[in-house]
Amino acid sequence: MESVRHHAHQEVIREPATIPEPIKTKPRKKKKAYLPGLLLLLPILLFIFGFFVVPMLYILYLSFIYTDSPNATNAVYSLKNYALFFTDSYYLSSLWITVKVSLYTVLVSLLLGYPVALTMAKSSPRIRGYIALLIASPLLVSIVVRNFGWYLLLLPNGTINSILTSLGIVSAPLKLLFSEVGVVIGLSNAYLPFMILAIATSLYNIDPSLERAGAILGASPMRTFFSITLPLSLPGIVSGCVLVFSMSMSAYVTPALMGGANVPMMPIVAYDQINNLLRWTFGSALSYVLLATTMLLVTVFTRGFEKSRFREVFR
């Protein structure tokens, strides 16, 4: 013991005081903290991937294959499906009708929906809640039921025609069902809540003192609305229009019931091709033409606004 101590003591005297170098350790691999999260996500990711992403991609792939029947072995990669579509006036007019009806629906929803959104914005939160409940509830009732309600009202011997003919306003019943008018009524009725809620959200975000500032500077209520409120609600209007347009373009049940064979919108044609004529590859092409057209028009619309003189509102 003595000797060791002595030794240590001597060592200490001899060496200058230094801070010992830190012991180098191998960097431990950090366990990824989100691993349990990935585990939780796995079932749903697999499910969505397997039963959603893959099928969607599969029919995109199919649309580039031209066959005459689903079981044909003479599959050929070609754009023939698309060519068929764009060269046939029947399909092109179907696409046009779809776009036209959707645009009418957007217009009707916008004109009728804006006053409701404005009313909500000017009301207390409680009333806003009641109105939101009233207009959103129909969304949770099956579309067929809502269309049936319109049948009751719009049929030649339905409520509206009965009232009109008995009051003598029209001599013969109006053809409201099985026409474009009927489809627009059905679609606007179904999608109005989305337009209203989109515009309302935008209106809620407008600083209330902006309207006061306008008034103090001399703007009448109407002037205030057009110069201040309307431009500032543009983001809501655009998102509402985009939403209603997209949903109208791909609607099947309402056009089928309210328009029938008289209004051959794309979803109806596509359904027919696939379920009745079993032309799967062509039907797939139709679906993607519909999707692409919708996305194109929506992009043009939104980009148009973002580059317009109102672009400041969208920041």
Binding site: F51, I59, A132, I135
Partner: protein
């Protein structure tokens, strides 16, 4: 300019009536004593409800709808809640892309989805089967559950979980006794919403059904096209009734308007 304000209010009220009117006329029409559907109804009778009970195709369809909706809701809630928890709690790379992916079925038109699943399921022998139908419904319901549960978790105080852990609770206990009860309203809302979405669904279902496995909305759909009689009214009223009850519960839990992004 008070008149402009009054005009605005008038249009607003008329529009709200416009939105509600199809539902409002169906229920009285179901009590007609005549043989054809009309509004206003002719006379008053319960006949179309009693006749409904005698029609096996409607009763089966109702049972089918309810069954599928329940199971679809269950699985959507299961998958969706786990997914939402994972996204909310863990900093997974590409989180926002994953969330967008999981909610993307909402932005795809149901028509295209129906086409895709029908074509995809056929070689897999799932087309026209209950399983295939169920899978399709789960796909469309999951986005709603994810959105609702994520919203429910957005204000969640994770310190509550840490407090429980410090007190000695295992992760499973923490989840069962702390996390779950707190997000229960969001989960129940998600479940109810999923149930209604599945119960009401028509478009995707049209691609997935087989003649021996029809749901109520599809029965209504085909009856409207082929056999138009007041039976459709009474069936529809039943659907409205079920929906209204669930809507009331949903309103108490979550606020229906808020779920569609309405109020602040």
């Amino acid at each position: 300019m008070k008149t402009l304000g009054r005009l605005r209010l008038l249009v607003a009220i008329l529009t709200i009536i416009y939105i509600l009117i199809p539902l409002l006329v169906v229920i009285p029409a179901s009590f007609t004593s005549a043989n054809y559907p009309s509004f206003p109804p002719q006379g008053f009778s319960f006949q179309w409800y009693t006749k409904l009970l005698e029609r096996p195709e409607f009763m089966t369809a109702l049972a089918n709808s309810a069954k599928f909706a329940l199971v679809a809701a269950f699985f959507s809630v299961l998958f969706g809640t786990l997914g939402a928890l994972a996204i909310a709690k863990y900093d997974i790379p590409g989180k926002s892309y994953i969330t967008s992916l999981l909610t993307s079925p909402l932005s795809v038109p149901q028509l295209v989805l129906g086409v895709a699943l029908l074509i995809y399921f056929t070689p897999l022998m799932l087309a026209g089967t209950g399983t295939g139908f169920l899978i399709a419904h789960i796909i469309i319901c999951i986005p709603y559950v994810i959105r609702l549960v994520l919203t429910g978790l957005s204000g969640f105080d994770y310190n509550l979980e840490r407090a429980a852990a410090i007190l000695g609770a295992s992760p499973l206990t923490v989840f069962w006794r702390v996390t779950l009860p707190l997000i229960r309203p969001a989960i129940i809302s998600g479940g109810l919403f999923a149930f209604l979405t599945s119960f009401d669904n028509v478009t995707v279902s049209l691609f997935m059904v087989s003649p021996d496995m029809r749901t109520l909305p599809i029965e209504i759909f085909s009856h409207m096209q082929d056999a138009y009689d007041p039976l459709v009214a009474s069936v529809s009223s039943v659907v409205i009734f079920i929906s209204v009850i669930l809507i009331i519960i949903l309103e108490k839990l979550q606020g229906v308007g808020r779920m569609f992004g309405g109020t602040h």
